[in-house]
């Protein structure tokens, strides 16, 4: 087999859907150009939506409101548990309710710049435009955003921006927005517009004559593998951060749906663009199963510091003020503690690498609220961050009101995902990807409070408009059913994979493999990447894969509720995805946003982009397992936000 790193470069991939003309008019133009489906005909169309998070939940509800027949899936026992529920801080919108100079154009500008000039301008501008409608929609649904005494909505600031445009519901914004979408979805389930399959996991995509026509899914309670058919399939299955094993993702969040779609022909874009969140609770030992995020909103009032001296192991309260290094405030005086996530994470890593980290193993920095408590009073701090402080105390057994929090970066979000055009269509006609599952809006780094914005923009507003065009142009008259040869083939492959997992009967648990691949990825494809390290990882991954199929042990059968089988099946896909992530990171010999190649940095140690060579999105086409994929480049054109070296100093 030829070397995995010897990939070919194919034809460029082009977004043909974004119209020409001024960026501010493109969304209106596209909506006007798009074909519509007559309201009376919509009920004849079935749309499959996989996932019930912010993107999937809002899309399912909205499509059903429009009259489409929606068949929706979630692996959780209820749509209300999708991992969007865990988002803490807030959601951005260019409402300019603060009259502080915000505008749609500024949100657009901040997002393109925050993404380190690796996002598509057309998409980002549309996102900024729609942000305004999202807040209206959520308030109408009864989302209890924080309010001021006058009854109007409150705002706060987030990293990478100098305006207050983040709407929030204490530290549970994701939960409240998700419940809004879940309730809208519930209303449609009650009317019969949405047929929901909970505890059912998508295992593969059905492609017939080059078009997405359905999915193969497993009922997690009975183990039954079934086929579902539709005129279009929407993947809203989230990101792939769990490839790292330890991340802030929920334990069951996984990459199987998007990876299987990739194997069936959907290009995977910028897989190496992963976000390491700067403020997570440090790990305590090898038993650690996941990491917990402390909202970025804490950086509004908390001050980040480490001791000036290496190896200073005095307790925080015994380190005098002049022996502390508030390094973000020192290096980035303009943005201080509110620099974007990639910059804050790397700075934390640097001070820990210098031997100035705090806590066990020196893998932590302080996030200190003493000054805030002195300035605002404990009560005000409690009102703003109470639930986060409580969570910190429960996990660490330390009181953050008296002892500074210890934080360390952890994998949090993936900017990469399935390549989509302006209509959110993947390279497989009829297959759409929305929310974190696609790659489009955040470039190489996502700004805080923008994930919720994008998930809801895609689900409530973008997809329900653009999918009409596809359905109107593709009236599927020929029915597809389980007897179609293409369908039988996918089902057989799925069953074979499940049976093989159950029959190896080796001596290693699924988790042991997940940990192994996760540690490898964190080491070589984490916060800082080098050519040497990535090549090491690329040599090791096929070995782990080979060992997996020799030594995996999955107890029980396939015809029952079997959580070990679920896990093992997801790891199969991580073991391939990890390889693509490393290859993408290796090929992109520049630093940008969350992708930091040690070989490409400024004398000050900041990420150095190389626009002449890498101003493109890298969309990879699958060939076969272990064989080099084909690279398709989408050139990025910046007409409105001129690429510069990002500066937050």
């Amino acid at each position: 087999m030829p070397d995995y790193t010897h990939y070919a470069t194919g034809e460029p991939v082009v977004d043909t859907k974004a119209p020409e003309g001024p960026v501010a008019e493109r969304w209106d133009t596209r909506r006007f150009q798009a074909k519509l489906v007559n309201p009376a005909n919509r009920r004849k169309h079935t749309v499959i939506v996989v996932g019930t998070g912010l993107a999937g939940g809002s899309a399912g509800a909205t499509l059903a409101e429009q009259g489409y027949h929606v068949v929706q899936f979630c692996f959780q026992d209820s749509p209300r548990r999708a991992h969007s529920v865990a988002a803490q801080g807030g959601i951005n919108a260019a409402k300019n309710y603060r009259n502080d100079g915000d505008s749609i154009h500024r949100l657009f500008y901040d997002t393109v710049k925050g993404g380190d000039f690796r996002a598509r301008e057309s998409n980002v501008h549309r996102l900024a435009q729609i942000s305004v409608e999202i807040i209206d929609q959520c308030v109408a649904q009864g989302v209890p955003f924080a309010r001021e005494y006058g009854g109007l909505l409150d705002n706060r600031s987030f990293g990478g921006v100098q305006v207050s445009r983040t709407f929030y519901a204490r530290g549970q914004t994701g939960q409240q927005l998700l419940l809004g979408a879940y309730q809208a979805l519930s209303r449609q389930i009650a009317t019969g517009g949405v047929e929901l399959h909970a505890r059912t996991e998508m295992l593969d995509l059905i492609v017939v004559d080059g078009k997405a026509r359905g999915i193969v899914a497993r009922d997690l309670v009975t183990g039954k593998i079934d086929t579902y058919f539709a005129d279009a399939v929407v993947l809203a299955t989230g990101g792939y951060g769990n490839v790292f094993y330890l991340s802030t993702n929920a334990m069951n969040s996984n990459a199987t749906a998007i990876w299987r779609a990739h194997r069936r022909g959907a290009y995977f874009a910028n897989p190496c663009f992963t976000q390491i969140h700067p403020t997570c609770i440090p790990r305590t030992g090898d038993h650690q199963s996941k990491l917990t995020l402390m909202s970025e909103s804490l950086r509004n009032d908390g001050r980040i510091w480490v001791p000036k001296a290496k190896g200073d192991d005095r307790p925080a309260d015994q380190i005098p003020e002049d022996e502390r290094d508030y390094y973000l405030e020192r290096i980035y005086p303009a943005f201080g503690n509110l620099v974007p996530r990639d910059i804050a994470s790397r700075a934390a890593k640097n001070v820990c690498d210098e031997g100035r980290g705090v806590g066990p193993g020196g893998q932590g920095v302080y996030l200190d609220f003493a000054e805030a408590i002195g300035r605002m009073g404990r009560k005000a701090v409690e009102a703003k961050y109470g639930n986060l402080f409580d969570m910190y105390q429960r996990i660490t057994d330390e009181d953050p009101y008296t002892v500074p929090m210890r934080i360390y970066p952890a994998v949090h979000y993936t900017m990469g995902g399935l390549w989509v055009d302006y209509d959110l269509s993947t390279t497989i006609p009829g297959l759409f990807a929305i929310g974190e599952a696609n790659f489009s809006d955040h470039g190489a780094n996502r700004l805080g409070a923008s994930a919720l914005m994008q998930g809801l923009a895609d689900g409530y507003f973008v997809l329900p408009s653009t999918i009409n065009d596809y359905l109107a142009r593709n009236p599927h008259t020929e029915k597809v059913d389980a007897h179609h040869p293409a369908v039988a083939e996918v089902v057989a492959e799925t069953e074979d994979r499940i049976n093989l997992l159950l029959s190896v009967d080796g001596d290693r648990t699924p988790d042991s493999f997940h940990r192994e691949i996760g540690e490898l990825m964190w080491e070589y494809c984490g916060m800082a990447r080098t050519e040497d390290g990535l090549r090491k990882a690329l040599a090791k991954i096929p070995e782990i894969r080979e060992e997996f199929w020799r030594r995996i042990k999955v107890p029980g059968t396939g015809e029952q509720f079997n959580q070990s089988l679920e896990k093992a099946n997801r790891i199969v896909d991580y073991l391939e995805l990890a390889e693509l992530m490393c290859l993408d990171a290796l090929h992109r010999a520049e630093s940008c946003g969350g992708h930091f190649r040690a070989e490409s940095q400024t004398p000050e140690g900041e990420a150095e982009r190389r626009d002449e060579e890498f101003s493109y999105a890298a969309a990879w086409e699958f060939t076969t397992t272990g064989a080099a994929p084909v690279l398709h480049k989408e050139d990025l054109v910046f007409e409105y936000v001129h690429p510069t070296q990002r500066s937050y100093a």
Binding site: T62, Q76, D77, S78, R80, R81, H83, V85, A86, K95, Y97, I135, D136, Q137, C138, V139, A140, Q141, G142, P144, R147, G151, L152, L153, A169, R170, Q172, Q175, L179, Q183, A184, S186, R187, A190, A198, V221, A250, M251, T284, G285, Q288, S289, K290, L293, M391, R394, I395, D397, Y460, T509, P510, D511, S512, K553, P555, G556, Q560, F561, Q563, S564
Partner: protein
């Protein structure tokens, strides 16, 4: 720490279950309760046994998936979710009983996993505001007094875990239902459906086989999110008001 675990094992809804005893060693105080169970499961898999099935996902106390009765208490001895319970709440040598939520409206799926779809059906019966996408006025068109917004939020914090039902001697879902009724009925946006919401949700709750409320208060004590007991009184008031108003 070394612990003795007595765990409910049940193959599926049709098969009767029983308690099984396991020993675990080398448990760290810093582990979460679920990480302790992970340790047990790794050992069970290597021994060729089926691991203990339990629902879990976010492990940050917000998704509401985890659902264990620990030593007789829903979510165990601390007022939090099982995933946020840490082993420092236990002592070396302890024997710990682990059971699923027990309520006829939550049938067992396997071991410690139960079916809570009855909660979803209560929400489907009226736990929403009808606001189709695209119909919303500007967010500032209707100011909401801060105390109302906070009361709505306090009730909206419910994570739908079902601890209230598991803790209630009657297996009642009053606190869960009341939390959603109050969240939406206190807001001006929820006013148009105020009466139908409470009537339909209470009717669905009864239909699902949840028990009646005798104001024992165990629900609010077990609730990891602190949904207040007076929410039940507020819902009763809403229900009474709605039955009198008869606008159906």
């Amino acid at each position: 720490m070394k612990l003795t675990l007595r765990v409910w094992r049940q193959q599926n809804a049709e098969t009767p279950g029983a308690m099984a005893t396991y020993e675990v060693d080398g448990i760290s105080q810093d582990m979460s309760f679920l990480e302790m169970l992970d340790t047990l499961n790794e050992e069970l898999i290597l021994a060729g046994d089926e691991p203990v099935a339990f629902d879990h996902d976010c492990r940050e106390g917000i998704c509401g998936a985890c659902s264990l009765v620990i030593n007789g208490d829903a979510h165990g001895p601390e007022r939090t979710t099982t995933c946020q319970l840490h082993m420092r709440s236990f002592a070396d040598g302890d024997t710990i009983d682990i059971e699923p939520w027990r309520a006829s409206a939550f049938p067992v799926v396997k071991d410690l996993v139960v079916d809570r779809s009855s909660f979803d059906r209560i929400i489907q019966s009226g736990g929403y505001i009808s606001a189709p996408t695209g119909t919303a006025p500007d967010a500032h068109a209707t100011p909401v007094p801060k105390p109302d917004a906070e009361l709505a939020f306090e009730n909206a914090e419910c994570i739908g875990c079902g601890a209230c039902v598991a803790a209630c001697p009657n297996g009642s879902a009053m606190l869960f239902t009341a939390a959603k009724v109050n969240h939406l009925n206190v807001l001006p946006q929820g006013a148009p459906e105020r009466e139908t919401r409470v009537l339909d949700m209470v009717a669905q709750m009864d239909e699902e086989g949840f028990g009646g409320c005798t104001l024992t208060g165990e629900c609010a004590t077990a609730c990891p999110k602190g949904i207040p007991l007076p929410s039940i009184a507020a819902m009763n008031k809403e229900w009474l008001r709605a039955t009198r108003k008869v606008r159906r």
